[in-house]
Symmetry: C2
């Protein structure tokens, strides 16, 4: 709406070097890819380890100070720690430093297999984002609750309010939330069809025998399976979300192939 | 068949600390999760950067010295570099050291949303593996070709032989392959149904109003979209693989929920 679209500044850390035409630095795109990912991969260096570690975690972008902020605004990343306590123990520890623990967070979506004549022109359609920042434990209860709702509703919109409320003191206490202050980020998107070199396109043996094109790939949700103590019908907020998820996910993968 | 199942030794690097009952160290399980992942996340520390970096890449476990090795044998991980040249430049550089660049590689599969009464008992069904090792560029042409076939067939079995062969010298030259010598690894698997605390199960307001159960999540492949210069019908090796992939992927997510 006439507003300037915010971008993460390019620097040595976030610059997309290979296929730079596929790179983007727009906050809205990057934050959208993070919020749409069922799983994030979080990397950090545990003190004393020769290797960086990757943990799969769930998380959402948000702003506790300004909850009405848009996806294109500067936001923090909130991560839920149930996957492993290791990251949080590290962030608590002496290696963390004043600004928090340096982390890289990746959000990746595969949209299709691109099958070319030459195996070397095979590719994926994909959308991937990385964020770099400093992670610290959220200590304040109100901010913790804000983040827990954000993350729960990120998995299934409306689920927080629909589940048993309010949280008990023990639940809030025993749950760790990390807030990542974002330093920079970038995204890389490959879409479109198949592409081969001239010498292969002129090779009639090849074009006459090798199938070329795109196979859409998407994430799907199956028929919900009620648990042993379930007593209610699947509510509309859930059934509608699963239906929309499946439709959008499938349509996006086809649209990416046809771009 | 009476043979001892190999495991990565537990140490400070690979130990599953939280929910250790979900952890496994069996090579066969871990290697299977890596080979079944459409995308791997590779983390390393670029020289001079305050942050670790994560790159999404494709890869497969294999043994160039003993190509007939099983999934449960000690194997190397071969990674394809088309996603970014940054990792390879780093592995070439002075920071790499004699043994190669220390990396962590993650392979993660989401199998379902576990929706409980309390938001704090919500979970995912998932299978995730991490490997730690040292990455180095493959220099020898025969090993490069072995890895390229392995990785191409990992995306679509049989595709290497079915695509235009042999590779040109320029293709082999311009493609970078990393070989990761594995130091250790572990996997973590959550399956089964929903589980809540006694006080929630006895809360009739909660059980009478909140849907609980598992929503299977799986990766699907859509109808293949032929490219503009395709002249042939979709071959059987491809159509059968897509069909099997969809069926197994869907059935696995349901089986995980019912365990």
């Amino acid at each position: 709406m006439g507003r300037h679209e915010l971008e993460y500044p390019k620097d040595a850390v976030n610059l997309v070097k290979r296929h730079d035409e596929r790179g983007t630095y727009a906050l809205e795109t990057i934050h959208g890819l993070v919020n749409g990912a069922q799983l994030l991969h979080v990397s950090f260096n545990p003190p004393g380890s020769p290797f960086p570690v990757i943990l799969p975690m769930i998380g959402q972008m948000g702003s506790f100070d300004r909850p009405s902020a848009d996806l294109g605004d500067p936001l923090d990343l909130y991560l839920h720690g149930y996957v492993s306590a290791r990251l949080f123990n590290t962030a608590r520890g002496p290696g963390a430093g004043a600004g928090g623990l340096p982390v890289c967070v990746a959000a990746s979506h595969v949209d299709g297999l691109v099958l070319a004549l030459s195996p070397f022109n095979h590719s994926y359609n994909y959308r991937s984002a990385v964020l770099f920042g400093h992670a610290a434990l959220v200590e304040e209860e109100q901010e913790k609750l804000y983040a827990m709702q954000l993350i729960t509703d990120g998995v299934l919109p409306g689920r927080w309010a629909a589940s048993r409320q309010p949280p008990t003191g023990a639940e809030v206490q025993s749950t760790s939330i990390l807030r990542v202050k974002i330093a920079s980020g970038s995204a890389k998107i490959r879409d479109g069809g198949v592409s081969d070199d001239k010498h292969d396109l002129e090779n009639q043996d090849a074009t006459g025998s090798i199938w070329t094109g795109v196979v859409p790939v998407y994430s799907a949700m199956g028929e919900p399976i009620p648990g042993p103590y379930n007593k209610v019908d699947l509510p509309t907020y859930a059934s509608e979300f699963f239906q929309e998820f499946n439709q959008e996910s499938r349509e996006n993968s086809i649209a990416a192939a046809k771009k």
